[in-house]
Symmetry: C2
Subunit: 228 residues, 2 copies
C-alpha cells in the first residue's frame, strides 16, 4: 500500500486536510485528531480520510488518532510545500492585480515573484510590491528566479500564446484563469480555474430542482382540478 502511487482524487484532497489541520492547530489545543473529526472539518467521509492518509504511510495511532503536528508535516512534505515555489503571473488586469496583491499564497508555500503584461499602460507600474515587466523578458526572468509555476490571467485569446511562452521558458506547471483550453506537451501540467463553468454547473442543478418543483406544482393543481 505504502509505495502505491497516490490517486489523483487523494492528491486533490490533501490540501483540504492540510488546511483543516492548520485551522485546528491554531484554534484548538488538541494534539491529536481522529479521522472522524478531520472528516467533519474537511467536509468528507471518515473512511475516505483514513484511506487517503494511508497512502502517505501509517501515521495514525489506533485508539488515539493522528498527531496533528506530525500529520501536518507529512502532508506538507508530500505536497512539496516544505520549499517555496516561485510563480510568475502574466496578465495584470483586474483579476491579475487581485492575485498579485493576495497575501494568502505566501502562507501556503507560494510566492509570486514576477509580473508580466504586454500593454504599455501596465508595464512599468507597480502592484503588490512588484514592478510589471514586459512579457518578452519572461524566459530570462524564469531562468534567473528559478520560476516553476506559471499563472495566466490574460484574456482567453492570448492564453495559448502565453502558455507556449511558459513552455518555451521551461515552466512545467501552469494555472490558467482564462476561459479557454490550452494545449501543451504531455510533460507540462495545466490546471484551470473557471468561474463561469462553476456558475453554469450550479445553474444546471438549480434549474433541475426548480423544474421538479414546477412539475410537482402542476401535478398538485391537476390533482385539485380532478377532485374539484
Amino acid at each position: 500500500m505504502r509505495n502505491r502511487p497516490i490517486p489523483e482524487a487523494t492528491v486533490a484532497r490533501l490540501p483540504i486536510y492540510l488546511r483543516s489541520l492548520l485551522d485546528m492547530a491554531e484554534t484548538t489545543g488538541e494534539l491529536t485528531v481522529s479521522s472522524e473529526e478531520l472528516a467533519r472539518r474537511a467536509g468528507v467521509n471518515a473512511a475516505k480520510v483514513r484511506k487517503d492518509l494511508s497512502y502517505l504511510g501509517s501515521y495514525g495511532t489506533r485508539g488515539v488518532g493522528y498527531d496533528v503536528e506530525y500529520l501536518l508535516y507529512q502532508i506538507t512534505r508530500e505536497l512539496g510545500l516544505t520549499q517555496d515555489w516561485p510563480a510568475a503571473l502574466v496578465g495584470i488586469g483586474n483579476l491579475g492585480r487581485a492575485l498579485a496583491s493576495y497575501k494568502g499564497f505566501s502562507e501556503r508555500g507560494f510566492r509570486i515573484s514576477a509580473l508580466f503584461d504586454v500593454s504599455d499602460d501596465v508595464v512599468g507600474t507597480e502592484t503588490g510590491g512588484l514592478t510589471v515587466r514586459h512579457l518578452d523578458e519572461l524566459k530570462e526572468v524564469v531562468a534567473e528566479d528559478n520560476i516553476c509555476i506559471g499563472i495566466i490571467s490574460t484574456p482567453p485569446n492570448s492564453a495559448q500564446e502565453v502558455a507556449e511562452r511558459f513552455v518555451d521558458a521551461g515552466v512545467k506547471s501552469i494555472l490558467n484563469f482564462a476561459p479557454s483550453v490550452v494545449n501543451v506537451p504531455p510533460d507540462v501540467n495545466v490546471r484551470k480555474v473557471d468561474l463561469s463553468i462553476e456558475l453554469q454547473i450550479l445553474s444546471f442543478y438549480q434549474q433541475r430542482t426548480q423544474a421538479i418543483a414546477t412539475a410537482r406544482e402542476a401535478n398538485r393543481r391537476l390533482g385539485a382540478q380532478g377532485q374539484g
Copy 2:
C-alpha cells in the same frame, strides 16, 4: 438512455462544449461540427464528447456531425442558461471588485445584481455600476430581485456565516471563493473555487517529477563512481 440522469462528470463538461461551440460559431463559418473536431477544441476524447451529448438526446446526424446552432441551443437549455440568473456577491475586497466588474459573466447567462459587505469603508461605494449594500439587507434584496445564486468572496472565517445568511434568504446555489469548508443543508448546492488548492496540486506533481529527475541524477553519478 435519454431519460437517464446526466452524470456529474458530463455536466461539468457541458460548459466547455458550450464555449467551444460559441467560439466556433463566431470564428469559423462551419454549420456542423464532428465529435472529433469538438473534442479537439474542448481538449477531450471524441468518444467522451459523443457519450456526453447522447445524454441530451440524439442531436447529431451520422455521417455529418452536429448542427452547431442546434447543439448550442440544446446545451444552453440543458444548463438552464436560456434565462439570466441573478447573483449576489458578498465581500467586496480585492477579489470581489474584480468579480463585480467582470464583463464575462453576462455573456454566459449570469448577472451580478447586488453587492454586499459589512465594512463601513466599502458599504455605499460603487463598483461595476452597483452600489455596495450592507449584508443586513441581503434577505430583503434576495426576495426582491429573485436572486438564485450567492457568491462568497469574504475572508474564510466569515464564509460560514455568509453561507448561512444565504441559506436563510432562500438561496440554493452558492459559489465559495474563500478557502474554507462551508456546511449547508442537503438541498443547497455549494461549489468552491480554490486557487491555493490548485497550486498545491501543481506543486505535488512538480515536486514528484523533480524528485524523479534528482534520483536519476544521483543514480547516474553512483553508476559513474562504480565504473570509475
